[in-house]
Every structure is written in structure tokens, then in C-alpha cells.
Amino acid sequence: MTVPELKINDLHVSVEGKSIVKGFNLNMKGGEIHALMGPNGTGKSTVASALMGHPKYEVTSGQAHLDDQNLFDMAVDERARAGMFLAMQYPSEVSGVSNADFLRTAINGRRGEGNEIPLMKFIKTMDKKMQMLEMDQSFAERYVNEGFSGGEKKRNEILQLMMLEPKFAILDEIDSGLDIDALKWVAKGVNSMRSENFGCLIITHYQRLLNYIKPDFVHIMMNGRIVKTGGPELALQLEKEGYDGMKAELGITDDETVEA
């Protein structure tokens, strides 16, 4: 099996006619963990949503390829089945559908008809992953995200990630609203996925999560594009100097900020 590759080239994205991402470039390989940092409103979440295919986000130019497949030619579900995963900042609630049914449907969707996961194997796997995330067994039968606290929703996103085993995952502010214990559980889950068949892009404001999931690359995004790339030390520098320090160093003035 060849190592998967995700190539994003000169991506431009608009939301409701307003240009937000302006020339975003990033190459990722399986086995790599990338962190994408930057102040509010610079387009980090917009990159994530556009790659996954949210209907509100319009790709005005640029390409994104997962191996040799053009993501922008594919529907949302096709991108997922090709190996993309987005842990969402605000996951939807789906009443009346149990977490277990939802996950089994998703897994079987990827495996295809005639190759469905045996029920017992599914239950065992789910039990094991839920234990790792310190999730109560009752989560399996609860309706998808309905009545979940913020932290429970985030853990549920990571549970899905672990069950679906994508080639690339984007974690969109998975650390927001998490206490330190939940943060550790989430990190444990993500770290358990590490292999050369899995690449991960972590979107975050804070360096804190990166103490637990060590990135290979850190990218700083401002005004719709990556302005600086480095190793883990870049996140530490940012933590010390703040975004204003970074702006001054790079000679960047705010041309606009937008709601993500």
C-alpha cells in the first residue's frame, strides 16, 4: 500500500460571495501530523469545510487531490468514502438515530454491499474505542449528538474518526471547550491512529493540544493563506509572542478579518 497524499494547490474559497481563502497551498502525506494555527477569521475552518464539501462554501479556484482523485469533482459522501474525514466544530444532532446505527451505516457505506461488517465485530470494536475515550457504554444507544455536552460531542467526533479509519482527518478546533482530561482522551485517540496510512491536520488557536499530539509541521495562516511554516517550535514561539508579534515579524497588516 502506497502512502496516501493530500495536495491542496492555490485554493480560493468564498462564502456567500465573500472571498475568504485566498491562495492556500498545503501538501500532506500519510504519517504526518500538521497543525494549522492562526487568529480568528483567517479562514482555517473555511479550508476544512471546503475540502469536505459543505454546500455553503464555494471553491472559486484551485485544486485539491487525494492521491489521484480530484476532491472537487466528488460529492461529500464520495470524498468521505475516498478517505477524507472532518471532525467538526459544531456537529449536527440527529434525533431518532442511535450513534451505533449511524456508525454502522457509515462503515458499511465505505465497505460496500456484500462486505458489511459483522455485527459482533462492530460492537466489540466500538466498545474498545469508547473505552479508550472514556465514553460511557450508553453513548452507543443515544441519539447522535442529541443532548450531548460540548465535550461529549468532541469525543464523539474522535470516536467516529477511530471507527472510520480515514486516510486524512481534519480536526477543526477539536480542543475548544474541552477540559484537560477530555483533551488527553482526545489526544490518546488521535495518537492511536498514527501510522503511515493516516495523515492529520489539526486546526487550533492554542498550543496546548500540541503538547499532547506532537505535530511534524506547524503552519500559520493569516488573511486567507499560509504565511509561515515551521516545526513544533513555531507553535511555542507563537504562544510566547502572540499573533501580533508574528504579524510584525512578517510585516503583515490586516486587510480584513472575517467571520469563520
Binding site: 454546500p55 468521505a80 449536527s92 440527529v94 434525533s95 431518532g96 457509515a106 457505506g109
Partner: protein, 435 residues
């Protein structure tokens, strides 16, 4: 408007003969004749925004029947599937083509004075008791369709729970029609006396062999002081059957009724559900789901009337509209003067699954008292695009994702039905109608 006598396809002579053959007492055959003359005079109901003038409420064969069976295995599979554990069925009464063909009530309940029998038997054996309740919550002269029910009644159920009797096991009724061009005209009376408690679940089914037919159902529930009734129903008539169904309850002091209705007919349907909270502290919980499909037209009126003090009601209606179906949903909460401390909440949500479908949700609050809480919410919309995106982002195809969302949306009623066979009936129906 000038009064015009309608040309009904039956007359007093025919009805009298029908009553004689059934050995009905005078009070009952008199009610038939009264129903006939009222049906000739009274207008059809006028449901808001649904035109029913050309629906066939009157042309069908009501003189039908079926003979009793000794074993469940002699009955069609669709009936057997509804029984909880096949041969070990609980307390059940099965009607085929309006006739009771199989019944079973545990000795324990009989010994406690519980009566559970078909209407024809109840008229003969418990006539005096039944007469106290027959057409008491729903007036015979409400409109032409209630009058027709009185005139032509050919089936139904009587369930009587004496004072202080608490029944844990659900009591089940099943109606199945397969006679060509037949009409089921059924009248059900459920009486729960003071401090009693019961769960009653009815299923209505028909086979395509009926072709064009009709169902006229008037179901009355009397909830005594501090009594509790859980009333579940799944309606599943085929597409050429026109249905009028009235389910009405009267609730005394501190009594409680819970309705769980799966209204899944494939044909045109006019449904009137009403709860009268007469006594202080009476409460009602109404949950109803439906799916419109094909070109069927449906009108659902859900009505709660608060009379007693500190009465409570919660009404939840959920529906999905497919194809070129057309459904109107009225939720009416009325709080009468003097019903201080009343609390009435209603929510109606309609999911539109096709451009040609139509669905209207009309919330109506009528309040004649100051010291009350009342609220309503009504929405008609499409499947939430964010939910759809979320499910698809996990690799689920759009069609399947929509199906999951709609089935989940309709699930709250399924969970309330206490009989596994009936839960399965409703789940399978939802899957079939949505799929």
C-alpha cells in the same frame, strides 16, 4: 343554505333487518335509525383546506363478516406478525372483515371484572353498561360521518376496566379487512374507572383485495378519576380506502391519557383526535406521526380542551410528506374560562420530501383564562442541510442519509408503543413509506 336530504345507498328497512339479524336490543337499533335520519340531514364535516366532498364515505358493503378461528395460525401473516410472541399472544381481540374471529383475555383479568369483547357481544351481554358510554364523548350528531357510524356500525371493541384495577400487560385489538368493496364501521369504547390503569393498542390493516372501500371509526375513551390510559394506534389502510377516524377522550380529575398514534394509511384520511380535560389536574400527552405518500390527501385535527384547573397537555405532531401528497395539520388548544393554572403546549413539525407535496401546519390557541401557560411551535420545512451534510461527511449516500433523518424524525412514537409486534409494524411501515 337549504336542507337537502341525501340519497344514501341504504334505508331504514335494510338497517332494521341488519339489526334483527344481529339480535340487537331496541336501544341499539333505535340508535341506528336515529343515525340514519341524522346522516340524511347533517352536512359532512368541513376540515380546513381539505376538500372532502368527493370522497366516498357512503358506497361500500357493510354487511360483511368472517368466521371464528381456533388458532392464530389460521389467520393471515400480517395479523400474526402483530402478535407479540406468536402463539403466546397476550390479551388480544382480532377482527376480520368487522367480525371478531379470535379473542383471548387472561383469567386473572376476567376474575378482576375486566370486560374485553367485540361490540356485538358487548351489546348483547353488557348492553346497560355500554349504553352509559356509547356516543357520550363524541356526539352522534356532530356531523354526517358520526351519524353514519351510528347507523352502519358493524364492528368495534368494548374494554371496561373496573375501579382500582391496574393492568400491566397491554391489551391489543387488531382489525383486518380483505372483503372486496367492504367498509369497516367500527365503534370502540374504552372505559377506565377510578384509579385504574391500562394500555390499549389497536392496529388497522387491509389487503389490496378490498379495492375501493371505506373505514369509519369512532373511538371513545373515558378516563375516570385518577385513572391512566395509554392508547396506541397504528392505522394502515390501503390506498383506495377512504378513512374517517375519530379518537376522543374525556378525562376526569387527576386522570391521564397518553395517545401514541401512527397514522400511516395510504388512502385519503380525515382524522379527528380530541381530548377533553374535564377534571382538575387532568393531563394529556398526545403524540402522532404520519407520512403522506402517492397522491393521498389527509387532514389531521388534534384538539385539546382544558376545562379543569391545573390541567396539562402536551401535543407533538410529526409528519413527512412525499410524492404529491397533501396533508393539513391543525393543532387546537383551547383553555376555557376557569381553567386556571392550565398548561397547554403544542408542537407540529412537517418535513417536506418532494416539490409536489403539500403540507400545512396550523397552530391554534384559544385562551379564555388569565392564569395559564400555553405555547405553540409549528414548522414546515425540508430536511436540514446541515444534518444531511454531517451524515454524508461520514460516507453515507445522500438517499440513505435522508432516509435515516426522516426515520429518526418519526421515531418518538415508535418507542411509545408497548407491543413489540406493533412497534415493528410501525417501523416497517415508516421504512416502506419513506423508502
Amino acid at each position: 343554505m337549504s336542507m337537502q336530504l341525501k340519497n344514501l345507498p341504504f334505508d331504514a328497512e335494510e338497517l332494521t333487518k341488519f339489526a334483527e339479524e344481529r339480535k340487537e336490543p331496541k336501544w341499539f337499533s333505535d340508535t341506528r335509525l336515529k343515525g340514519l335520519s341524522l346522516a340524511e340531514e347533517l352536512p359532512l364535516p368541513k376540515p380546513e383546506k381539505t376538500r372532502i366532498a368527493d370522497w366516498n364515505f357512503t358506497n361500500f358493503n357493510y354487511q360483511i363478516g368472517s368466521s371464528a378461528v381456533n388458532q392464530l395460525s389460521e389467520l393471515p401473516d400480517s395479523i400474526q406478525n402483530l402478535m407479540k410472541n406468536g402463539e403466546e399472544a397476550g390479551n388480544v381481540l382480532i377482527h376480520v372483515n368487522s367480525s371478531a374471529v379470535y379473542s383471548r383475555l387472561s383469567k386473572e383479568l376476567t376474575d378482576q371484572g375486566v370486560i374485553y369483547t367485540d361490540l356485538a357481544t358487548a351489546i348483547r351481554e353488557h348492553g346497560d353498561l355500554l349504553a352509559n358510554y356509547y356516543f357520550k364523548t363524541t356526539p352522534i350528531d356532530k356531523h354526517q360521518l358520526t351519524a353514519l357510524n351510528a347507523a352502519l356500525v358493524n364492528g368495534g371493541t368494548f374494554l371496561y376496566i373496573p375501579k382500582n384495577v391496574v393492568i400491566e400487560q397491554p391489551i391489543q385489538a387488531v382489525y383486518y379487512q380483505d372483503a372486496p368493496s367492504s367498509g369497516l364501521v367500527a365503534h370502540t369504547v374504552v372505559v377506565a374507572e377510578q384509579n385504574s390503569s391500562v394500555t390499549f393498542v389497536e392496529s388497522y390493516l387491509s389487503d389490496n383485495s378490498v379495492g375501493e372501500g371505506a373505514a369509519n371509526l369512532v373511538n371513545e375513551v373515558i378516563v375516570g378519576e385518577n385513572a391512566q390510559v395509554k392508547y396506541g394506534a397504528v392505522d394502515e389502510f390501503t390506498d383506495q380506502i377512504v378513512t374517517y377516524v375519530s379518537r376522543q377522550a374525556e378525562v376526569a380529575k387527576d386522570g391521564r391519557i397518553q395517545w401514541a398514534l401512527g397514522q400511516m394509511n395510504d388512502g385519503n384520511t380525515l382524522s379527528e383526535n380530541a381530548t377533553n380535560l374535564e377534571g382538575d389536574g387532568a393531563a394529556a400527552d398526545i403524540k402522532a406521526v404520519s407520512i403522506g405518500s402517492g397522491s393521498q390527501k389527509q387532514n389531521f385535527d388534534n384538539y385539546v380542551r382544558h376545562v379543569g384547573k391545573a390541567t396539562q397537555s402536551q401535543l407533538l405532531v410529526r409528519a413527512a410528506q412525499k410524492d404529491a401528497s397533501n396533508s393539513i395539520f391543525n393543532a387546537r388548544t383551547k383553555i376555557e374560562h376557569g381553567a386556571s393554572g392550565a398548561d397547554g403546549e403544542q408542537t407540529q413539525r412537517v418535513l417536506m420530501l418532494s416539490d409536489e407535496a403539500r403540507g400545512d401546519a396550523n397552530p391554534i390557541l384559544l385562551i379564555d383564562e388569565y392564569d395559564v401557560i400555553a405555547g405553540h411551535a409549528a414548522s414546515v420545512g425540508r430536511v436540514d442541510p446541515d444534518q444531511l451534510y454531517y451524515l454524508m461527511s461520514r460516507g453515507i449516500k445522500q438517499e440513505l442519509a435522508e432516509k435515516l433523518i426522516v426515520e429518526g424524525f418519526l421515531a418518538p412514537i415508535v418507542d411509545l408503543l408497548p407491543i413489540e409486534g406493533v412497534r415493528k409494524q410501525l417501523t416497517t411501515l415508516i421504512e416502506r413509506k419513506v423508502g
